[in-house]
Symmetry: none
Subunit: 226 residues, 4 copies
DNA sequence: TATGAATGAGCGTTCATTCAT
DNA sequence: AATGAATGAACGCTCATTCAT
């Protein structure tokens, strides 16, 4: 999963929803976005020039404006491209699940950790966090399209787990934060501050350690179990 | 990661002795930093003008350069001002503790949560995270001055808790992430995406829920206990 | 030190094919240099604005930076443009000559004087002298590219004249100063202080008077002649 | 003669023409000028800040404005201070002389060369040449106060030498340029371009070589002599 | 006399965006 | 569909000069 997400236009059927701009199999806009993502991630939005993006994408500055009406639109495009698959992927695993949530949580965490260990993954979410101040619309977009889907789904997953007696009675909404927070911190420490655990940035170990504690902590009490 | 710094001019009577012109107080640099912090937080470093900072601090653009040699130096100054109290305060609670770590952890988490509920707190850390790409030196500074002190201290605290048999054998370094991560996520969700739990941004509840799970999950096994 | 460079756009019809907007000719850099030369000469480097240069060259300020990376680069460009023809032209007359040096010297002096009577000639050398303090690299460039070629050539010319018995035994290196110095003084007095001889700034007369004295003074003595 | 010229206020009677500003024996303004001269010479007028001058003179920026109303006034002050002694000195030797001009010329040239071998000498004239563009009034001042006295005096000296038959019939005005030019070139090459003769910047040798040629070249012809 | 904090105008440089080709 | 020359608005920073003390 080297790209930050599934990019539908690269896949099978040439999604001809966008009848305009056809050249080199319609890959142009995507190439521009790839270049933009790489540079925004590396240098931030403000310090990246449109010219740099154009050069990296192999076209001229003016041509970028053929596909995107402004620099900010590139950011939007980036988020838009990343949003659907991300949410879908997560929701596919979680949504509507009934029963002991722990296997599903483990699967979800493992998937996320796996995704996170590839390069450029989480690039868009991190970008969104960083640039939210400059582009609140984009943060909103991310919120409504991703967070407002994933978080409630996880909350529901845990909620029904509580109701089903599979885990202790906890606040599902806050427990989601207990679940995912460490992953965020792990990534932030590593990428922003270059702080890594002594034995490397191994997501698998983190997930294992974290879930072993969490699941033990969520274990229903004896009296609950009965 | 408690209160990021004392902000003297937020307290007491507004120092408006000389309403318009010159003041000789060496509070000047601090006032400039206050203005910079507010604007950087609100609009980001890149989109904040030195002129804006000057105006908000009640001086002319040129005067800012009397106190800080460059715009970037304002960021550095902000971090420097926040660093000492932060680290010290945190370390005061933790360092060298021997015995069951849980009370100390609870105290630390409560303090941090309390600090985080005030205004402008965590402003600097969040600024640092956001601007780390543009100013890696500052991220480094933050890392060495704060993180490299606080994280090892917490790691040691947990480590000796494991050795003393007070908590299950876990990886102390990774467990620190399990401990603090949710707090970060909570803040980020709230401030970047305006995602808040249904019953408000109550840090106390978050801490309680989180620690109840965590402490239960860290409870030594029966066989360990014996 | 004759004509400092060919200035193509001073010649012929003014290239006003496209009166107001874009031109694609690569004469652009040259036009900018022309404007810069005029303004630097008139007001000095420091007091000349890039905007002034741009306006005079018929472009916007930003466009200047399309051709030159900085204001100083304009100065460099000016010198670079002037250097090649200068040195070559001078050396063409002098280099490797054997025999009585006086005809060659007269030719050289006449050429130089003729060049000096045109407009904008010597502008670059004078600029270099004036701005040497602010831009030592440029002075160095001028030295190595022009002076270190012309002066040794003249020195050698006189030296071989002495050896061949065509002129008195004199110090060739110092005699070069006796030869050229008056030209410099003449120009300086005229252009810096507006001091001109009573009957005008006639270089031809200066050269004639100067060489008549110099050649008489360099005439081998009777005993030398024999 | 370490200073660029005689500084009357340093000498004998305390020239009380300027009743204002008295402190530390009235030396203050002179100290400021000294500092300004050094810095203008080294870095040019534009690149020297008033603060630098103040610091070097050992007072505060504001105090400079107690003595000089503007930065440009420093330049004027510098020139004014240098002007009187320079011209007087030269004129003392030359003015009204009758007879063979060559001994006087030699004396004048030797004096000038001797002066030029000290440090900081010619600093002001060179400064004037360089900054003439930025401060034409100052160039004018220098012209009227110095050049318009010295050049006519030298011209007259040579003129009467021609009339008296001591030297060949030459154009006196142009011959002045032949006389002094080499000195200027010598200084310029040395100080601006660091081009020096192989055996060092020995003014004495230059003067000897130059005058030996010049005087020989000015020798009246046989037929003239008779 | 002397200070130095403060001002304000100005300059070099950058860059998103446009548009003739 | 594509180019890249050109624009123009903005920003960081400097510094001569002023003025309350």
């Amino acid at each position: 999963m080297p790209k930050e997400s599934y990019q539908p236009n690269e896949a099978g059927q040439p999604t001809d929803d966008h009848p305009k701009f056809r050249r080199r199999a319609d890959a142009r806009p995507d190439e521009v976005l790839d270049a933009a993502l790489a540079l925004f991630t590396q240098n931030g939005f403000a310090k990246t020039t449109v010219e740099q993006i154009a050069t990296r994408a192999g076209l001229s500055k003016g041509a970028v404006y053929l596909y995107f009406p402004s620099k900010k639109a590139l950011l939007e495009g980036l988020v838009a491209r990343a949003i659907v698959p991300t949410a879908d992927q997560a929701l596919g695993v979680i949504a509507g699940y009934r029963g002991d949530p722990r296997p599903v949580i483990r699967k979800f965490m493992t998937m996320t950790a796996f995704a996170a260990s590839g390069p450029n993954v989480f690039a868009v979410p991190k970008l969104v966090m960083r640039e939210a101040v400059n582009a609140p619309e984009i943060a909103q977009m991310y919120r409504t399209q991703v967070l407002d889907k994933v978080i409630p789904a996880l909350t529901a997953l845990i909620g029904q787990g509580v109701e089903g007696g599979f885990i202790r009675p906890v606040d599902p909404e806050l427990t989601v934060r207990s679940l995912i927070g460490p992953l965020l911190l792990h990534v932030m420490l590593a990428e922003v501050f270059e702080v890594q655990p002594d034995d490397g940035l191994e997501f698998e170990k983190l997930v294992n350690n974290h879930l072993s504690i969490l699941f033990a902590g969520l274990e229903p009490e004896m009296e609950d179990k009965k």
